[in-house]
């Protein structure tokens, strides 16, 4: 039965191998350049930080590399594709064509039939996604090192081991819907909807709440403070991102000792020389989502203002430390694998007792 499952999967496996090899060739031929570019960038950046007159260092990737970076982003949809194109049709197509009547009346129980299908295509799903994740993680490591943001809601699920868990889960979900719905297209549709619902819920509602975040209290740093508005709201102080590489910053707030937040009125009362809207030179209304106006002549005024406010106010940082990265990677991967196994178990029960 393993051989039949493999024979039925051959064409899809060939396509997947072809794509993997294409990605491998593209990545292998461009990785050297990326690495060199970011090494130079890191050196320039370090030199710039020590030089107060340096305005900043930028980096611009060429068109091909920008395109290749998208492959990394595309990795986020690969587990969904695996579920939709490999999982959902796996048994639904047999039901649709009636070939399950052929298969289930050979000298192989339907439990074994399902087990072999799940083994062959399931292992392939995880392996292909795993190899792709390995390639992407390797190729983009210089970029990720520069960004220091591996908890980023996109990046976390596009690097290292989490894609394997998603692939196993997506595949199992596809098989489940195929088994329940028995028609390929509706099963595919259900798979994509179900998979996205679970992934989005887990990413935005569950993941941030697994570990309670740490809090850190910092004195206001006049050299590391911006001033501007968010979404056209009242102008206030805006702390620059703290220097916590790869940490997952939930929020930064400026509060006083009683825990009250810093209001725009307080800033205005303390520092009337700052360019508030209507005060002349304020941020243009309706522009951008986050406007910083610190700089130039405002710089000194802001410096004095922060020093004054620093007597009563401080900054509170809410974050997950960088060293929780692997705990969360393993945790999330294993939870998705466990869900995949639970779904597979249900599929076995269903095919023995419910499928006709």
């Amino acid at each position: 039965m393993i051989r039949l499952s493999w024979r039925q999967f051959q064409a899809q496996a060939a396509v997947a191998c072809g794509l993997l090899i294409a990605v491998l060739i593209l990545f292998a031929s461009t990785r050297g350049n990326i690495d060199h570019l970011y090494t130079v960038f890191a050196k320039a950046n370090a030199a710039c930080l020590n030089n107060p007159s340096c305005p900043g260092v930028g980096i611009e990737l060429n068109k091909l590399d920008q395109l290749l970076e998208l492959i990394g982003t595309a990795l986020v949809v690969v587990p969904a594709l695996v579920g939709v194109f490999w999982g959902a049709p796996l048994v639904a197509r047999e039901f649709e064509n009636g070939t399950h009547r052929l298969a289930w009346t050979q000298s192989v129980t339907r439990t074994r039939w399902l087990a072999c299908k799940l083994a062959v295509v399931g292992v392939a799903s995880v392996a292909v996604t795993g190899l792709l994740s390995l390639l992407v993680t390797w190729w983009s490591s210089p970029i990720d090192r520069a960004h220091q943001n591996r908890f980023g809601s996109g990046l976390f699920g596009e690097r290292n081991i989490t894609p394997l868990g998603y692939a196993a889960f997506g595949f199992a979900l596809g098989v489940l819907f195929g088994l329940l719905i028995r028609r390929t297209l509706p099963a595919m549709a259900a798979t994509i909807v179900g998979f996205l619902a679970v992934r989005l819920t887990a990413t935005y509602l569950v993941r941030p709440n697994i570990f309670s975040p740490r809090h850190k209290t910092l004195a206001l740093d006049p050299n590391n403070m911006g001033f501007g508005t968010t979404n056209g709201g009242p102008a206030t102080l805006m702390p620059n991102p703290p220097n916590l590489p790869n940490a997952w910053i939930y929020s930064t707030h400026i509060v006083d000792n009683a825990g009250h937040g810093l209001t725009s009125e307080t800033v205005k009362a303390t520092c009337p020389t700052l360019p508030f809207p209507g005060n002349g030179g304020g941020p243009p209304p309706g522009s951008g989502t986050r406007v910083r106006v610190a700089g130039g002549g405002v710089h000194d005024a802001l410096h004095d203002c922060v020093t004054k406010l620093g007597a009563t106010y401080h900054e509170v940082l809410t974050y997950q430390p960088a060293n929780r990265y692997w705990t969360l990677q393993w945790g999330e991967t294993l939870v998705y694998f466990a869900a995949a196994l639970a779904i597979a178990g249900f599929c076995f029960w269903w095919i023995r007792h419910r499928a006709r």
Partner: protein, 299 residues
């Protein structure tokens, strides 16, 4: 000898509707059994229960003494050709023979290859490109090469043209003679059954109407015709299957094991087709009557 099919009180229900009910049957081994009945009578349901594709909602069924599809051994003892003879359209004829070998420990690959060659099938051709007749032959080849003790075929010739139909049944009978396998095949055409079967089961309105050896059934059913009369005073061993009256004449189809003694009757032999049709019509009348009663009681 154990019965190839042994059902008691067997039933299958889909939500509210019974596709098959109160089915009690013993089919002896070594026979070619025809399962006839109108479309939707429950033939496919009965056969799928026998191969374990369906689970009964009521009663029991034993096939060759075992529970259908209980384990690989039981699966190996029963060959099945499903309705519309499904095959994997992306796989070639040769690959189908291969998968037969992969999935069946007793698979007779040499015989299967011989048969495919005799049929003139190209082994490298995709099964999806085969004609209906060729596909049916491929499915039969696979089922026979399992070396089953019982071969179950669900409407194997329904979609075939008359020539292909004839060839298929011909091949089937040759193989049956060669391997002494019991056969149960369903058809809605009595002519097919008459040609190849020596045992018949009539299924109509989700129930078994009559089942038995074809010769015995033909010997025990008679068409009686005579002057018009009331049929309620017939001898007690004569069961009226069908009665029709004109102004002057009464025609009956009766079942009895004893000879017809009443000289007023003209007695004729009944053909299998007429016999089967009579039982089907009776089932149709009965279900219509039942519906009328239901409607009446609702009011």
């Amino acid at each position: 000898m154990t019965a190839v099919l042994d059902a008691s009180g067997l039933g299958k229900r889909y939500r509210q509707r019974w596709a098959l009910r109160d089915c009690t049957l013993q089919v002896p081994a070594g026979r070619v059994v025809g399962l006839v009945g109108p479309n939707g009578a429950g033939k496919t349901t009965l056969l799928q229960l026998a191969v374990g594709l369906l689970e009964p909602s009521a009663g029991h069924i034993a096939v060759l003494g075992g529970k259908p599809a209980e384990n690989p051994e039981q699966l190996g003892r029963v060959g099945f050709v499903a309705q519309d003879t499904p095959v994997y359209s992306a796989l070639s004829v040769g690959e189908h023979l291969q998968l037969g070998g992969w999935l069946n420990p007793r698979f007779d690959a040499a015989a299967a290859e011989r048969r495919v060659d005799q049929l003139g099938l190209d082994r490298s051709q995709r099964a999806g490109k085969l004609s209906g007749g060729q596909r049916a032959q491929l499915a039969l080849t696979l089922a026979l090469a399992k070396r089953p003790e019982l071969l179950i075929l669900d409407e194997p010739v329904a979609s075939l043209d008359p020539l292909a139909r004839h060839e298929f049944l011909q091949h089937l009978m040759e193989s049956v003679a060669e391997h002494s396998v019991s056969v149960v095949l369903s058809s809605h055409l009595v002519a097919d059954v008459e040609r190849v079967c020596d045992y018949v089961i009539v299924l109509a309105g989700s129930r078994v109407q009559v089942a038995g050896d074809v010769e015995e059934l033909l010997a025990s059913h008679h068409r009686l015709s005579g002057a018009r009369r009331d049929t309620s005073h017939l001898p007690s061993d004569q069961e009226v299957i069908e009665a029709s009256h004109t102004d002057r004449q009464t025609t009956l189809l009766v079942r009895t094991s004893s000879p017809i003694l009443d000289p007023a009757w003209t007695v004729e032999q009944v053909g299998l087709e007429d016999l089967v049709l009579a039982y089907m019509r009776r089932a149709g009348d009965a279900s219509r009557a039942a519906q009328t009663v239901q409607v009446g009681s609702v009011k």
